[in-house]
């Protein structure tokens, strides 16, 4: 069961629309290394975690990723809001506007719609946790590319917060991987 909290984990108040930036940031909503993929990945992988630490951490990081999914959705919404169709077309966001208007759709920046092919749930905790470590680094990388293209502090601050969370998750997954490895080793010799 999940309960919704009617607030963002980090405030998003973008005063100036920037439709082109919306179509770039949206990649962290529904792209290959985005927050939806992250959440689905961890929440699907948690069932076969062999130790309670793993069930807890994957549930909790999977839940935090949903909060990030919501933050990125709010950014896309606010970046599109108030821009005229002409401004949208001139900014290069015309292709997105054609299919989705000012709506928020899970897609990669280059246009591929979200797919579960972005994630794996291997039924093997070592394989899954190694994927999770890579996923956090890839998401960090995406936030860094977005930060290089952003010039509005209202956009930069939440992107920096989200980038930092990837680093924390990477650290927690690394610790968990060692614990799971120790647990599996200890079982082998009994």
């Amino acid at each position: 069961m999940w309960i919704y909290e009617k607030k963002l984990q980090f405030p998003i108040k973008i005063k100036n629309p920037n439709p082109q930036m919306a179509t770039l940031v949206v990649s962290q909503y529904g792209g290959p290394d985005g927050e939806l993929a992250a959440s689905l990945r961890y929440l699907s992988q948690r069932y076969i975690m062999p130790i309670p630490e793993g069930k807890g951490l994957l549930t909790d990081i999977g839940t935090e990723e949903l909060a990030h999914f919501e933050m990125v959705g709010a950014m896309v919404y606010q970046l599109m809001k108030g821009a005229s169709a002409e401004e949208i077309k001139a900014s290069g966001a015309g292709p997105y506007f054609t299919d989705h208007g000012r709506g928020v759709y899970p897609t990669a920046a280059a246009g591929s719609p979200f797919t579960a092919a972005y994630i794996q749930s291997k039924g093997d905790p070592i394989a899954d946790l190694n994927e999770d470590l890579a996923a956090e680094q890839k998401a960090r990388g995406t936030y860094e590319w977005l930060l290089r293209m952003a010039d509005d502090p209202d956009v930069i601050e939440p992107l920096k917060f989200l980038r930092q969370r990837e680093i924390v998750h990477y650290q927690r997954f690394g610790e968990l991987l060692m614990k799971v490895q120790d647990y599996l080793e200890s079982k082998k010799y009994f």
Partner: protein, 85 residues
């Protein structure tokens, strides 16, 4: 943009909840760290108090039986989290 009382309370909630999230993730891997459990409980108590205060003044932060509602039903009231205000 001027910071109003509501935003200020929300920021307090966010800050306390951030501490709780960080300690929660750490404790998932380190359940026997007594000091961290104590800190987690302390931040959680403060968070619950600030949330109560916010909800008395501005309506429920969560649904499905986790917070009381004013009349009329206050859950649907603007602003929603993605609104700029």
């Amino acid at each position: 943009m001027k910071i109003n009382d509501r935003d200020q309370l929300l920021d307090e909630i966010r800050q306390l909840e951030f501490m709780a999230v960080e300690l929660n993730l750490y404790l998932d891997n380190n359940p026997n760290d007594q000091r961290a459990v104590r800190d987690y409980n302390s931040f959680t108590k403060q968070l619950m108090a600030v949330k109560d205060e916010y909800q008395r003044r501005y309506g429920p932060l969560s649904n499905f039986g986790t917070a009381l509602s004013q009349f009329p039903w206050a859950w649907i009231n603007d602003p929603w989290p993605w609104d700029i205000d």
